[in-house]
Amino acid sequence: MSRLLDIKNLSVSFVSGEETVRAVTDVSFDLCEDEVLTLVGETGCGKSIIAHAISGLLPPEALVSGEIRYKEKDLQSIPEEERVLLRGCEIGIVLQNPSRALNPLYTIGHQIRETILRHTEKSKEESNRMVAGALRRMGFSDPGIEMKRYPFESSGGMNQRFVIASSTILSPDLLIADEPTTGLDRSRIQDVITEFERIMEEEEMAIILITHDLAVARRLADRIGIMYAGEVVEMGDANRIFEEPYHPYTKGLFGSLPENGCVPIPGVSPPMSRIVSGCRFHPRCGKRTAVCERDHPQLGMIDDRYVRCHLCHSQ
Amino acid sequence: MNRAGLIGFAILSIFFLMAVAPWIFAPYDPYIRFTPYAEPGTDHILGTNDMGHDILSELIYSARASLFVGFVAAILATLLGVIIGIIAGYYRGWIEDLLMGVTDIFLMIPKIPMIIIIAAFLGSGIWVLILVFGAFSWTAIARIARSKVLQIRESGFVLSARCLGFSNRFIMAREIAPNLTHIVFPKFMLLAASAMITEASISFIGLGDPSMKSWGVMLSFAFTKGGLLNGMWWWYIPPGIAISVCVMAIALIGYSREKGADIGVRG
């Protein structure tokens, strides 16, 4: 498999007044064609910022350093027109909250077709056929009816599937999904998962999935990256990490799931404007030592994965 | 507040200072009589009027009446509007239907003709102007307040206040009302500006209080006593500019807050 996306030392910070909020610090990873990478973490850990940085949707005041290479092109240095062309055509984006992504005044069919008309030379009839085909693949026996519907006539989960359909109709090489299941009911989340599973099976597409929902991550991910306070703390094969987490934060996160007994991690996530010295997790870690308080750990290889923890490395 | 808002605030502060302490700025008492119809010169920067009053001093002393009418009328209208809007939105049901019905009726009554008719009957006076303006200008505020209250009453903190057993009056006054400031304040400023213009218009057509010094009254005299015909620009242009600049300053503050309200609370 060849490399589609390569991110090196990506840092994003925002300056507001006297405060500097370091949303993402020194994140590096690559992504192969046809691979699903899930970034998991809690509110404010910077996972969505990474998605926005790749899609070029960061607000202008964001300070970005590092490299984002997509098919050997540095996404930061290419002109905005080329970026717009990439978005929607080669890079599909799905954001949280489908009701905001869809315009309530247009039918579903119209909105999906618009993507095709905007990025290709195809005729209206041809695009309609493509939309119908896509909806049929999604499992709608009569796409004509679905195409004439308005967003408010379907549930949130359904709408999210339509958003996914419209972002993937041009078979992009990369799909970025930022919290696609947040705010949906369990059974609706199932709809969205089904849609992703279909795409993974039928299309050749790399997917970056940003979520805080561990169950969703577990179902879909090939590789998983756990983020804490703007950093990746553990990254590797999803099944392996879910079976046996190494990093104390990953352990704590899994332990706080209700099915694992709801054992909370003490304390709260630190504000991103005041970075803790040493290991960023040390104030909440039960096993911290003097080293953890003093030195900032590096992301290093242990067995089959990358872990950012002094303790795991010294064992 | 953005830069436009700050500029507006600075200008309005100067006008307020003029209203509170005109003697600091004015070279003369505006009721002292000098030679009438004097042209601008070293003694009288803006000349004198038909009565021989110094126009610059008159202009500065007029700020008080204009601002007083503008802000008192706007406060009256805003209070009425907010109270009616909150009650309608909070209680809903027949109370809402009744209050909003009344609002719609008031909304249809043309304000300035109404003030002219009432002023003609009751005689002209600053308080007639204020009361009538207040009584016919609260409708827009009542409507926006109600629609915001409909939204707020379903939010967790209001529901939770109801569960906790706070009285309806407490909930309306202390939980809901403060949350309306963002949307009501810009409208309040625009109302104040509008009331000042109304005062000027009413005074200009001669239905104002002639014993009072306001920019509208000055304009009115400049017009009726031949200032305009004789090309005495220093008589009729300064009050016009004063009204425009003051209204603009108020509007700038209002608009700058409106922009802030759109962005809303951090979420």
Binding site: S256, C262, P264 | S160, L164
Partner: protein, 234 residues
């Protein structure tokens, strides 16, 4: 004394141009014992939030009765209803709107203490008590709700409500908007408080695992009717 609803029905008029009645609840009966936690599950639109609002006395049912200490709450005298209001409290889902954005946390807590009849000299003590119940740092007092985290807001909401020492607590998806590690903290806090006070709880959620963790009994609501009522199982 159990809190019970008997044969509750609720319908709304729906639609912008033509008003069509829409049944949200179609005859729901449910009883919550003191000290018991009942989990209420169902998809959005199943009527679970409507049922919660009716139980809390925020909405009137179209028909049916809500029984507390054996009497129908909508036939109570004003003073009795006021005491019902205090005994049955509710915590809401969205932390972003759970507290008045124009008040500091200290003010929000103080209002509750004053409402409960605490005099000026007892306010500080009352606020300290509420902070302790919610496991909160006094540092939050001078902040506004948009300056603190969702987890802290839900703790404050819980502390405010518990100051009235209610016999029943209705929780409408109190942790749905929170991160898992924060959710774990709130659920543990809730469990501890419930054990100490012996309150009855109705815990509404669409998350199977959360409901199973916290509840003694799980009730499922579908299309306005109870479809199952059983122990949480494994």
């Amino acid at each position: 004394m159990p809190l019970a609803v008997e044969n509750i029905e609720k319908s709304y008029l729906r639609g912008h141009f033509r008003k069509v009645p829409f049944d949200v609840l179609k005859g729901v009966s449910l009883e919550i014992q003191e000290g018991e936690t009942v989990g209420l599950m169902g998809d959005s639109g199943s009527g679970k939030s409507t049922l919660a609002r009716i139980l809390a006395g925020l909405d009137r049912p179209t028909s049916g009765r809500i029984l507390y200490e054996g009497s129908d709450i909508h036939r109570m005298k004003r003073s009795e209803f006021r005491s019902y209001r205090r005994s049955v409290q509710m915590v809401f889902q969205d932390p972003a709107s759970a507290l008045n954005p124009m008040k500091t946390i200290s003010r929000s807590l103080e209002d509750v203490a004053r409402l409960a009849g605490v005099g000026s000299d007892g306010i500080e003590e009352a606020i300290r008590e509420m902070l302790a119940v919610g496991g909160l740092d006094p540092e939050v007092l001078r902040r506004y709700p948009d300056q603190i985290s969702g987890g802290q807001i839900q703790r404050i909401a819980l502390a405010r409500v518990l100051f009235h020492r209610p016999s029943y607590l209705i929780l409408d998806e109190p942790t749905s908007a929170l991160d898992v590690s924060v959710q774990a903290q709130i659920l543990q806090l809730l469990r501890t408080i419930q054990k100490e006070t012996g309150m009855g709880c109705l815990f509404i959620s669409h998350d199977e695992a959360v409901v199973r963790f916290i509840s003694d009994r799980v009730v499922r609501l579908a299309d306005g009717e109870i479809s199952s009522d059983e122990p949480p199982g494994i």
